[in-house]
């Protein structure tokens, strides 16, 4: 019996043992098998501890010694990660700059050139195919190549080659930054054409503007009376150059009253999508030594561009026997663009000039590849191009060009485009010349070659000279010999309004363009402030119509005009000023409207009409509009208005001092009220076209009763209704102060969706789109750099983020909070830090 029991027990335990082993074996096999499947394998290969690729990108430090065929140089990195380059010569410096930009911002360099070349989809897949298609059709890369040809043999060309060699040395010597490990790819070598394409990209961002197409569509769909909402000239009194008498012939420079036949909504909207976000613009001013305590002139500049992670700008300091220059540039460009040298300081803001024209063609009904041109049939130049798509099939497109430039189409509608940036441009030489200028005359001379983008340049030198100069090539369009404005669609088949001396994708003589001497300028002005507003009241030549509203410009002049001798601190305070001039006009009007209001007429807050019929209660803007985060401009509650809440809001507004401060409740109420007001006024008529067609804030603020979009509604009534909407929205969302809704959350890394850790912290922010301290949350546009500099003296600056694009670097976002808070730190011309890199010959 015992033996049997023992055997049975032993049998059972052996059986159990076998089963357990089988289970374990299965678990181990399944586990290892599962971990080897491609998705899991890929993630593990990237993030597993010790073996993960991502960790190869941690702890990157620049190599101590680097071979350079261009001569000796050293780099010190200071406490903010700004490289201080000291070099024996210009080429040695350019190589070193290439190396540090390649080390600090490599992914941004690669992404930027891919964007311009229409090669994003190789990395990003389907989502970017339309982007790539646009960039291929426009031929931006070909334009950069055209710019390279004449430069290749010039001295600057040699420097661009040295810069490229430096970038490539960094690619070869250093571990790749995190983004390359996450995407598991390596960058191709950098070339001078890549540098020029970085300039093409910024040129497009600042001047790529299809307003004429939108206005034509508005006239067609809504009626010509709506064109008054896009005035070619806003009736304000704060142009950049005030009181300038001109003796030019301004007849015929009045804006077009007939915009031309529209080219269809699909094409118009597709092209409009590639414009910069609204609000791209900037502030700058120059003040002569007469108005400063130190007696030195002061220049201040804060360019308003997309706020990105890492920042658009890169700060660097380069000292050679020829020049000592510090400031910011765009990664990809070797030379400082905004900054200071020992002899002077300068800054740029966008003019808003019209350097893009659109053409319609008569196309052969039997052969869509033929178009009529000056009485004859011609063929479009055609080229088939292939767009590689990651994890997908290549896309093939046929790129077409007319005599004017690229031809774009959607849904059977076609438009030809001429854009100054598509010709070979010499802006690189201008930038180089300005950065090593010795004074005002040097700068003016260099500025002659600043072909694009059209900019307001302000400059001051150590001798006390000051300058405002409009730079860039301005086309002159003529019809029957008469100069006409460019904000219309031209008849391309008739050769209407063509630009003499312009060769797309080639070298241009520019002979039909405004000569440099005739561009608006002011030499040794007392003070000039630029904020993208109208340049002058009666310019000699047509400049454009896409100027910004006058709010910032007016505020700058209000402060600078009355100023006693100023100190740099006063200028930093002005650069971070929060007074919203829209509120100055509108809040009193709103409060007055509230006093007169007939509450019975405002019963239902979710209607947009006065007659109480079921209105468009989805009166909100586009769902993706972050200015309207409630997603719906109308209030939720049915029935009676909450009069007490509105009275409360009115009290808050009455006590408010018009400052868009993140802690202010008045700013919150005003901001949400303004959006609701804008929506209520424009959505009924512009809703079908979309929010991007809405007229600007100044037009809204000055809109008279009886204006077409009001459609019989009283302006005061709409104002009050908007306040009811805003109050309900604020209550529902639980916002207490402006910084609850105005945050830095939209500022993000290109991968921010997938990898949120790559972004900066979400912080409450000050400023609106109309304040000098400019911030536009809906498009993440704002001061991408702030600088206040004394010519030949001290300077202060701040970057919205950090100088390094390396996620693991201590300088990835170390300036961000200071920027949010409006703080500055010195921007000195003294090299700072320990030598990190030594460049030289024959280090083997």
């Amino acid at each position: 019996m015992d033996e049997t029991d023992e055997r049975t027990r032993s049998d059972r335990s052996a059986g159990a043992d076998r089963r357990r082993r089988a289970v374990l074996a299965a678990v181990v096999a399944a586990g290892v098998g599962g971990l080897s499947l491609s998705g899991a394998r890929g993630l593990l290969e990237t993030f597993a501890p010790l073996s993960g690729r991502a960790w190869d990108a941690a702890g990157r430090e620049p190599a101590g010694e680097v071979d350079s065929p261009y001569g000796d140089a050293t780099v010190r990195y200071d406490g903010l990660g700004v490289p201080h380059v000291e070099a024996d010569g210009e080429a040695a410096a350019a190589f070193a700059v290439g190396y540090v930009q390649g080390f600090d911002r490599l992914f941004q360099l690669d992404l930027g050139r891919r964007l311009v070349a229409g090669r994003l989809s190789e990395l990003a897949g389907e989502a970017t195919v339309e982007d790539d298609e646009f960039h291929r059709r426009m031929g931006f890369r070909d334009a950069a190549e055209a710019s390279w040809e004449p430069l290749a043999d010039a001295p600057v060309g040699g420097l661009l080659e040295a810069y490229a060699d430096g970038v490539n040395a960094a690619i070869d010597d250093e571990p790749l930054p995190l983004e390359f490990e996450l995407l598991d790819y390596e960058p191709e070598p950098w070339t001078p054409v890549d540098t020029l394409s970085a300039e093409t990209q910024i040129g497009w961002a600042l001047t790529g503007e299809f307003g004429e197409l939108r206005r034509a569509l508005v006239a067609d769909r809504l009626g010509e009376e709506f064109l008054a909402l896009y005035p070619d000239r806003m009736d304000h009194d704060a142009p950049i150059l005030r009181g300038t008498a001109t003796d030019g012939d301004t007849a015929g420079v009045a804006a077009a009253d007939r915009p031309g036949e529209p080219v269809g909504a699909a094409l118009t909207d597709w092209l409009s999508a590639f414009e910069s976000p609204r609000g791209t613009g900037s502030n700058s001013w120059v003040v002569s030594g007469e108005h400063t305590e130190s007696g030195r002139p002061i220049v201040a500049n804060d360019p308003h561009l997309e706020l990105t992670v890492p920042p658009l700008w890169y700060e660097q300091h380069v000292r050679t026997p020829e020049a000592d220059v510090r400031g910011v540039t765009f990664p990809g460009v070797p030379f400082v663009i905004i900054g200071a040298n020992a002899d002077g300081t300068w800054g740029f803001t966008n003019v808003g000039a019209d350097v893009l024209d659109c053409y319609r063609y008569e196309i052969d009904a039997d052969d869509p590849n033929r178009y009529r041109y000056r009485g004859e049939w011609r063929e479009f130049d055609r080229e088939r191009q292939s767009i590689a798509v990651a994890d997908g099939e290549d896309r093939t497109i046929t790129v077409r060009r007319s005599v004017h430039g690229p031809v774009l189409e959607r849904e059977g509608r076609t438009v030809g485009v001429a854009w100054t940036g598509l010709a070979a441009t010499r802006t690189t030489e201008a930038i180089y010349g300005i950065s090593r200028s010795g004074g005002l005359e040097d700068v003016r001379e260099a500025a002659r070659r600043f072909d694009l983008p059209t900019q307001n340049l302000v400059y001051a030198d150590a001798d006390g000279r000051t300058l405002y100069q409009l730079v860039g090539k301005l086309p002159i369009r003529r019809i029957d010999g008469e100069a006409v404005p460019g904000d219309r669609i031209f008849d391309g088949s008739a050769g209407e309004g063509e630009w003499d001396g312009f060769t797309p994708y080639g070298e241009s003589s520019w002979e039909g363009f405004v000569p440099f001497e005739e561009l608006p300028a002011a030499v040794d002005p007392d003070h000039v402030a630029t904020a993208n507003q109208r340049v002058a009241d009666d310019p000699d030549h047509y400049i454009g119509v896409a100027y910004a509203t006058p709010y910032r410009g007016r505020r700058l002049y209000d402060v600078l005009d009355g100023a006693a001798p100023t100190e740099p601190a006063d200028h930093r305070a002005l650069q971070t000023d929060l007074r919203d001039e829209r509120a100055v006009e509108l809040v009193p009007a709103l409060l007055s409207a509230l006093e007169d209001v007939d509450w019975d007429g405002i019963e239902r807050v979710d209607e947009t009409g006065d007659d109480g019929t079921a209105g468009d209660s989805e009166g909100g803007g586009d769902p993706g509009d972050a200015d309207d985060p409630g997603g719906d401009g109308s209030a939720g509650g049915p029935g009676a208005v909450d009069a007490a809440a509105i009275a409360d809001a009115a009290d808050v507004l009455a006590d408010w001092e018009y400052r868009m401060d993140r802690d202010s409740r008045g700013a919150l109420v005003f901001a949400r009220w303004f959006e609701a007001f804008r929506e209520r006024v424009f959505e009924p008529s512009f809703g079908e076209l979309g929010e991007s067609y809405y007229p600007n804030d100044w037009v809204l603020a000055t809109l008279p009763d009886g204006s077409p979009p009001l459609d019989g509604r009283s302006r005061e009534t709409v104002m009050v209704e908007a306040l009811a909407t805003a109050v309900a929205e604020i209550d529902e969302a639980g916002w207490e102060r402006y910084g609850d809704v105005n945050t830095t959350a939209p500022i993000d890394h290109p991968f921010g969706g997938e990898a949120p850790f790559l972004g900066y912290a979400d912080r409450p922010a000050d400023g609106s789109r109309a304040t000098v301290k400019n911030y536009r949350a809906s498009s993440a546009v704002g001061a991408s750099w702030r600088m206040v500099a004394e010519a030949g003296g001290d300077a202060w600056a701040i970057l919205p983020g950090g100088n390094s694009g390396d996620y693991f670097s201590a300088h990835y976002g170390d300036q961000f909070q200071a920027w949010v808070d409006g703080e500055y730190r010195p921007m000195a011309l003294e090299p700072d830090g320990e030598v990190s890199i030594t460049f030289g010959g024959d280090r083997s």
């Binding site: 971990l35 290969e45 597993a48 501890p49 010790l50 850790f757």
Partner: protein, 119 residues
């Protein structure tokens, strides 16, 4: 296996048994297994499983093996954290990716240690 045999164990099973039972051999075996395991983990993610298996194999029991696997995983994470130096802060901030790092660092060696139940 010859239970109770007094002679030196010359078979593989015998050597393995020694590693599991004789204290000095066990310590040495554990050190070697850990070292090889960390090297494997450094070379390839599946090395984490291999490392867990190696330390698990020198454990006296399956339960002990799992503990060894866990400890090995923690050691890997400590070595990893030290290798990051000053970049440990940003690395920890890489949420949610870093959860995978932690999970794999501990979970995969434990998975590997289950091999002790087979051998």
């Amino acid at each position: 296996m010859t239970p109770g045999a007094d002679g030196p164990a010359t078979t593989a099973d015998g050597r393995l048994d020694r590693l599991r039972t004789e204290p000095r051999a066990h310590a040495a075996g554990l050190v070697v297994a850990t070292g090889l395991g960390v090297l494997a983990a450094w070379l390839d993610p599946l090395g984490l499983v291999v490392g867990g298996a190696l330390v698990g194999l020198v454990a006296a029991s399956l339960r002990r093996a799992i503990l060894y696997g866990l400890a090995f995983g923690v050691l890997v994470l400590v070595v990893f954290a030290l290798s990051l130096g000053t970049t440990l802060g940003p690395a920890v901030g890489m949420v949610p990716a870093v959860y995978l790092t932690l999970g794999a660092g501990v979970g995969m060696p434990v998975l590997g240690s289950l091999v002790r139940g087979l051998v």
